[in-house]
């Protein structure tokens, strides 16, 4: 019998590019598992009677089941099991914070490194993409129409379920390419755009229409969609991409930009290929990134790959409190991003003609935990110093975008502009209008790709239910 003492204590490492090489290119950093390595790793799973990992997964993937199918080399079955709960394993296997979710609950992890659930999930998802294991079950049209606003993970997941349930689905996307943060935010070396595009192609094959360049609230209002265009239900998955600024002196200087602007210039507009692609990126040689979440990590690692000299992460807390995926922090460190912990920017210094010439910072110390259990920080007098940088990129979180809120009468918003929804159905204050992903506020407020997808799918259920009661 397999037990914790008989399994391989070592977690099988995934293939990856060496730091010295990868910091000069945009190719994927982690190359994943080969069949053999996947089998070895899957064999570390104890197939627990009560699999705790599943409770750690925000969408409760039958992890035990799919890993079992890998060990039996029934990969397509493994894929079918994963996709019962998660439509896009190739994406989530790459971007989920597994160390805080499934893998944190893995029993093996009590003694050794936990089973590499995320890498196995990705393995299965990539095989499916390679072998084109799409869902071929026949779709029975139900004569209903659904409009999806925003093509981020929540919108895509919602659209997929609705299409399979027989809806005619149209996704409206403000940008010229679909995918949301998966396309404009998360860089190629972490989530190749080809992977996202293939998933989107699969959705089109289900009959889903994607209309880019359509800003709902402007091109059409939600009311138009429901009353003029005859949609039976609407889903709002617009994300929450409005960047918060640092609020310090000098933030308007040239050379200061939001991580969203920087990443959009690079990822969506291909600014790394300027002037062949016409959008410049406009960064210098010494870069400070403020913040330490996934966005900060992506910005820092992209900056590193653009012929820069020094890239710093300036963060007010320590690595322990950092919200980024642990793997990204590790990768960033290996690649040479310099972390300046317990430090806050005080002022961005400028030349007389308006360009940045440095950033004043102050050291902080940690004190007692606050009401949420986070250690408070306070400045240490006399520790101010100037960081010699010519570019500052701020990644301090984002907020709700006001467009939908302003243009939709009767849509209830919370005080920050987010859309409160029913916990079970994801329905907003307007009957027939649902919301999910980062823009929706339920009692479940994590802003990750998998949570966004989970909420999108829950909304799809709510919408199916809603239209069936309506008629």
């Amino acid at each position: 019998m397999k037990n914790i003492n008989t399994i391989n204590p070592e977690r099988s490492p995934a293939g990856h590019q060496e730091p010295a090489i990868r910091r000069k290119n945009f190719l994927e950093v982690v190359t994943g598992y080969t069949d053999d390595v996947a089998l070895t790793e899957a064999d570390r799973c104890l197939q627990c009677k009560k699999p705790a990992c599943i409770t750690g997964c925000p969408v409760n993937i039958n992890i035990k089941g799919f890993i079992h199918e890998i060990t039996n080399q029934r990969y397509e079955n493994a894929y079918r099991i994963v996709t019962e709960a998660n439509l896009f394993p190739s994406i989530c296997g790459r971007v989920c914070p597994q160390e805080k979710q499934c893998e944190s609950k893995c029993v093996v992890g009590k003694k050794y490194a936990p089973v590499a659930i995320g890498t196995l999930e990705r393995f299965v998802g990539d095989l499916a993409q390679k072998n084109n294991w799409t869902d071929k079950s026949e779709i029975k049209r139900n004569g209903k129409r659904a409009a999806i606003i925003g093509s981020g993970p929540s919108g895509l997941a919602c659209a997929s379920d609705l299409a399979k349930a027989g809806f005619e689905v149209v996704i409206f996307e403000a940008l010229h390419l679909p995918g949301g943060v998966l396309m404009y935010g998360i860089p190629e070396f972490r989530l190749p755009k080809g992977i996202v595009s293939r998933e989107i192609e699969n959705l089109k094959n289900l009959g889903i229409k994607i209309e880019t360049n359509k800003i709902i609230g402007k091109t059409h209002t939600i009311e138009d969609l429901m009353h003029k265009h005859g949609f039976d239900a609407v889903f709002i998955g617009t994300g929450a991409g409005y960047p918060q600024s640092p609020g310090i002196k000098g933030e308007f200087l040239n050379g200061v930009m939001s991580a969203n602007e920087f990443l959009t210039r690079v990822n969506l507009m291909h600014g790394y290929d300027f002037p062949t692609h016409a959008t410049p990126v406009g960064i210098g040689h010494d870069i400070a990134v403020i913040g330490c979440g996934n966005t900060a990590m992506d910005a820092a690692r992209v900056a590193l790959r653009l012929n820069t000299k020094n890239v710093y992460i300036v963060y007010r807390r320590t690595v322990n409190e950092s919200p980024a995926r642990k793997e990204e922090i590790k990768h960033a460190m290996e690649e040479g991003v310099q972390f300046i912990w317990l430090t806050a920017p005080v002022e961005i210094l400028g030349t007389t003609d308006g360009w940045i010439k440095g950033m004043r910072c102050i050291k902080l110390q940690q004190g007692e935990p606050d009401s949420k259990g986070r250690l408070t920080v306070s400045p240490i007098l006399g520790t101010e110093f100037t960081l010699d940088v010519d570019t500052v990129i701020y990644a301090l979180g984002t907020m709700a975008n006001p467009i939908i809120g302003k243009t939709t009468a009767h849509l209830k918003l919370d005080k920050n502009g987010y859309i409160p929804v029913d916990d079970e159905t994801q329905m907003t204050s307007i009957p027939g209008v649902f919301a999910g992903g980062d823009i929706s506020k339920s009692s479940w407020t994590f802003t990750t790709v998998i949570h966004a997808m989970g909420k999108g799918r829950r909304a799809a259920k709510g919408m199916i239910d809603f239209v069936s009661h309506k008629s």
Binding site: H176, T219, S245, S258, P275, A278, D353
Partner: protein, 274 residues
């Protein structure tokens, strides 16, 4: 893909496209803009909607060549298609019946004031327009402006047509002599700043339309941020119309230079490839 159904060349550096985009044509309001991304490799550029016609399903853009992108776009002819047009973006202008409204348009701002002029006139306001060009050859849309203006003044830098000099001269004269309830000024930043300075002592509300560097145009990147009063505003979602008396123009003028270095590289490369 969106088809250009008409193109007119107003001057060696100014041209007009009428584009078929029914969705935008039927939802546009005066003061709004679109983002044009004309091919896969191009930038996303904001352009004020200079006219829209829901029945024809078209919008009109008047474009001035300022760099590589606008130069490359000039090679697109009627019948050609452009890849992406997104909009209408930004808040629509507030159009009310308030009395006398004075419009000032200069350079690339001449065409964008047209939809506002028409809307204010149709609301029953008394309208006065001052439009400035470099010289006689590049004067366009005179009849259109005349049609909706109770009074029209054309200025040229060289005096080859209309009044010689800057648009601020007649502006000063008109507001000193008569009652003007609102000024709408659109054009280069320095012109808008100058207009706001002229009206400030008179306490006449002056609306300017900002066109800072943008990427998405939907409030997601902050490229278009400007200080207005003591607040940070995003021109793409809070504007483009702003109160000219409290816009920090100096800051904006510096921010307009953010990518100058790259603009030059791109233009040089483009010209040498022609």
């Amino acid at each position: 893909m969106f088809k250009i159904i008409r193109k007119e060349i107003f001057s060696p550096v100014t041209y007009m496209w009428e584009i078929e985009v029914p969705d935008i044509a039927s939802s546009s309001k005066p003061g709004q803009f679109v983002i044009v991304h004309h091919n896969e490799k191009s930038e996303r550029v904001p352009l004020t909607i200079a006219d829209f016609d829901a029945e024809r399903g078209t919008i009109t853009l008047v474009i001035q060549v300022v760099g590589k992108t606008s130069k490359e776009m000039m090679s697109y002819e009627a019948g050609d298609s452009i890849l992406d047009v997104a909009g209408p973006l930004g808040e629509a202008s507030h159009i009310d019946k308030i009395g006398t409204v004075l419009f000032v348009g200069g350079g690339l701002g001449v065409a964008p004031i047209y939809p506002q002029l028409r809307a204010f006139k149709e609301k029953g306001n008394h309208t006065i327009s001052i439009v400035g060009f470099r010289s006689k050859e590049i004067v366009f849309w005179e009849e259109r402006f005349r049609y909706f203006s109770d009074e029209l003044i054309i200025t040229t830098d060289d005096g080859s047509y209309g009044e010689k000099g800057l648009v601020t001269e007649p502006l000063k004269r008109l507001i000193s002599h008569g009652v003007v309830n609102l000024v709408v000024a659109i054009g280069p930043l320095v012109m808008m700043r100058a207009c706001a300075e002229v009206t400030r002592p008179f306490g006449i509300k002056t609306i300017v339309s900002l066109n800072p560097i943008m990427v998405d145009g939907t409030g997601m990147c902050g490229s278009c941020r400007v200080s207005v009063g003591n607040e940070v505003k995003f021109a793409c979602i809070d504007g483009p119309d702003m109160d000219g008396h409290i816009v920090n123009f100096d800051e904006l003028l510096v921010r307009q230079k953010r990518f100058d270095k790259y603009e030059k590289i791109a233009l040089k490369r483009f010209e040498s490839s022609q």
